[in-house]
């Protein structure tokens, strides 16, 4: 699941309070499914326990939680590694592909290189499915076709997005 990594990515952009993180997450990545506050704080606690973020001291003010969270070197490395590596090509990747591209552009990481790597991974998987069709019966062919058409749809999205990276950078960078 990419929620903890996405939150880490947002923290790499700038140190944030929990409620700011939720607000930014929902604005960019959670328009369909906003993040519950409980999950935000539980995730932050786990990230702090694992040494990927540091919680600053409590700040005065109303509200239950006024700590500011800062990403650590280990956390930043984890985000960088995650953004650079292709995702296992399978149908219905929209959320992960979308999140990685937006986050990469937001942080000034090379989103085009990520898309290239992802394209290569997708085509490698499509070659495996094509090979499966060559040696398989009609049922194998139908199953492989299903995967091929979905991966092809991902690739069309990848091409469109590659052509829109400059515009995206303007939209999400501060």
């Amino acid at each position: 699941m990419s929620v903890p990594l996405t939150m880490l990515g947002l923290l790499e952009r700038e140190p944030s309070h929990g409620y700011e993180l939720k607000r930014d997450y929902d604005a960019y990545f959670g328009r369909d499914r906003p993040l519950p506050f409980g999950q935000v704080y539980a995730t932050l606690a786990r990230l702090a326990r694992d040494g990927k973020v540091i919680a600053g001291g409590a700040e005065p003010g109303a509200g239950p939680e006024r700590k500011r969270y800062v990403i650590t070197e280990a956390g930043a490395t984890e985000v960088e590694t995650w953004l650079a590596e292709p995702t296992e090509p399978e149908p219905h990747l929209q959320t992960v592909l979308f999140t990685k591209v937006v986050l990469a552009q937001m942080l000034g990481h090379p989103a085009d290189r990520y898309l290239d790597t992802q394209r290569t991974a997708h085509l490698a998987r499509m070659r495996e499915l094509t090979e499966l069709k060559r040696g398989g019966d009609l049922l194998d062919v139908l199953r492989a076709d299903y995967g091929l058409f979905h991966l092809e749809a991902d690739l069309r999205w990848i091409e469109m997005t590659a052509a829109r990276l400059d515009a995206l950078a303007k939209e999400v960078r501060r």
Partner: protein, 239 residues
């Protein structure tokens, strides 16, 4: 080129290669130092968006366009420095071509179309038509040799075009969006036959396509973007 000493293994040169090719049309650059190397027997997909330069790269590799700068090599020898008649002969004898549209001669039958390259190469009429029939058979077009182009479906016409490209047993087959005007099933049949026959004949294939499912039938892909070549293998090495 010098001969290697006895017993020294010499790696085979690439079958077809572009080195830092630059090509412009007027003031519009189409290729900017594009390089690609295709091994003998390899099936390469050239992918990229419309207008990226992928068809120009194919035309340069096939000796149809002459690069402004850079080199094209076929089987280790310069191709771009040959005279136009020499290149024309090479294209007729060593290269096969399949395009997206309008490649068959409409006044002729399927068999005539396939026999045509052989007849132009002064092969005896009887032999040419026997070979044409055999190739139509290999492309699962048995019995359709007497039909004119207008009487063929899109997929059948494209398989006739493939037969005509392969009948001279080319060293390299150049295909530019060969399934671009076909429905999915007909396109799949064309690709399956193209790949199977190229493997049997050990023909090198350079295939331009913007369709990922078509590219997935090949051994590997390169991407042309804004006149430059992105090769995922090179990117892997560079990481």
């Amino acid at each position: 080129m010098t001969a290697a000493g006895a017993g020294t293994p010499v790696p085979a040169p690439p079958m077809i290669e572009a080195r830092d090719v630059v090509k412009s049309f007027g003031h519009t650059p189409a290729l900017r130092q594009a390089s690609v190397s295709v091994r003998a027997g390899e099936i390469l997909a050239v992918m990229g968006p419309s207008g990226s330069g992928k068809s120009t790269l194919l035309h340069c590799l096939a000796g149809i366009f002459t690069p402004d700068r850079g080199e094209i090599r076929f089987d280790g020898r310069r191709l771009d420095t040959l005279s136009e008649p020499q290149r024309t002969k090479l294209r007729r004898t060593a290269f096969g071509f399949v395009f997206q549209f309008g490649q068959l001669v409409p006044e002729l039958t399927a068999a005539d179309n396939v026999a045509l390259p052989l007849l132009l190469d002064r092969v005896k009429r009887k032999d040419a038509y026997e070979k044409a029939a055999a190739w139509l058979d290999r492309l699962q077009l048995k019995g359709l040799g007497g039909r004119r182009t207008g009487e063929l479906s899109g997929g059948e016409a494209q398989r006739v075009a493939l037969a005509r490209a392969l009948v001279i047993r080319p060293r390299v087959l150049f295909a530019d969006e060969p399934t671009g005007s076909l429905d999915s099933l007909s396109g799949e049949m064309v690709m399956d036959l193209m790949v199977a026959l190229a493997r049997e004949e050990e023909t090198t294939v350079v295939l331009v396509t913007h369709e990922a499912r078509v590219a997935a039938c090949t051994d590997r892909e390169i991407l042309v973007r804004d006149g430059r070549v992105f090769d995922p293998r090179a990117a892997e090495v560079g990481r």
